[in-house]
């Protein structure tokens, strides 16, 4: 089981976008993080479709967050990029084979599916509790100040 690597990039981008007042292009975000520009563009597209960022075209265009950082949860970003489908999907094996349970007797979901659903909800709930603002606060606390100001300056240029 592996989550899309784009989630990490998307979160980093949200953190950066929140700090920059002006639109930031995909090219700049890619260079700052030293990742493939073309592929990062794809992730930004997904964020855009999900309504987390808004893109402005033309010169001096780029991406901007649509909401305040404390209004965007980590789960929002994860679901935008990695999708909302749970990792486990019940294939109803109990309805197959020589000892199949007839469909009309399967009104309640299989206990295995229930267990997985419950764990999935716990996971999402945990991600929902953390916002981009929380990440920023942590970054500001643990990153050397000269790098923070340097990055701000680098974005402006």
């Amino acid at each position: 089981m592996k989550m899309s690597g784009g989630v990490e990039w998307g979160l980093h981008c949200c953190v950066v976008l929140s700090g920059a007042g002006a639109p930031v292009t995909a090219a700049k975000l890619a260079e700052l993080h030293d990742v493939s520009q073309s592929y990062l563009a794809k992730q930004l597209q997904l964020l855009s479709r999900a309504g987390l960022v808004r893109s402005t075209l033309g010169q001096s265009g780029g991406y901007v967050l649509t909401r305040a950082a404390n209004e965007i949860t980590v789960l929002d970003v994860v679901e935008a990029i990695d999708g909302v489908q749970p990792a486990f999907r019940c294939t109803e094996v109990r309805q197959r084979g020589p000892m199949a349970v007839p469909a009309e007797r399967c009104d309640t979901p299989c206990p295995i599916a229930r267990t997985m659903d419950s764990a999935d909800r716990a996971w999402r709930e945990s991600l929902r509790r953390v916002t981009i603002a929380d990440l920023i606060a942590d970054v500001n606390r643990t990153t050397p100040p000269e790098i923070l100001s340097g990055a701000r300056e680098w974005l402006r240029a």
Copy 2:
């Protein structure tokens, strides 16, 4: 993000194995669940490597659980088949690009990684709380009795 489909099969097999007193072959388990025999064998191999089941060779051989059903958690099966690696893997993007943070200043994990780790722990904890015995109890409660006894009989034959 998608978990291996073999997890579902593995859990069903554990439930069945717990009910059968004698070893059950991979072929019978595959037929009962109407899934590919060759591929199910692979999942059973993984369970065997993890020490959850023991295989006996030769005639009247097959698979048996090594522990009582209430001593095997759903997490045990998930980790045996799907692996123990967390879904998110931090690639340390903060150490890359023109504004890279030097490695010696990165003693604490990145806040994004911490958030993901926390969610992953919540997920695993949720799966750890449910045992095969719990699944069996639920199956016994929700499955028509004639099918339960029928399956037991079918396994014996």
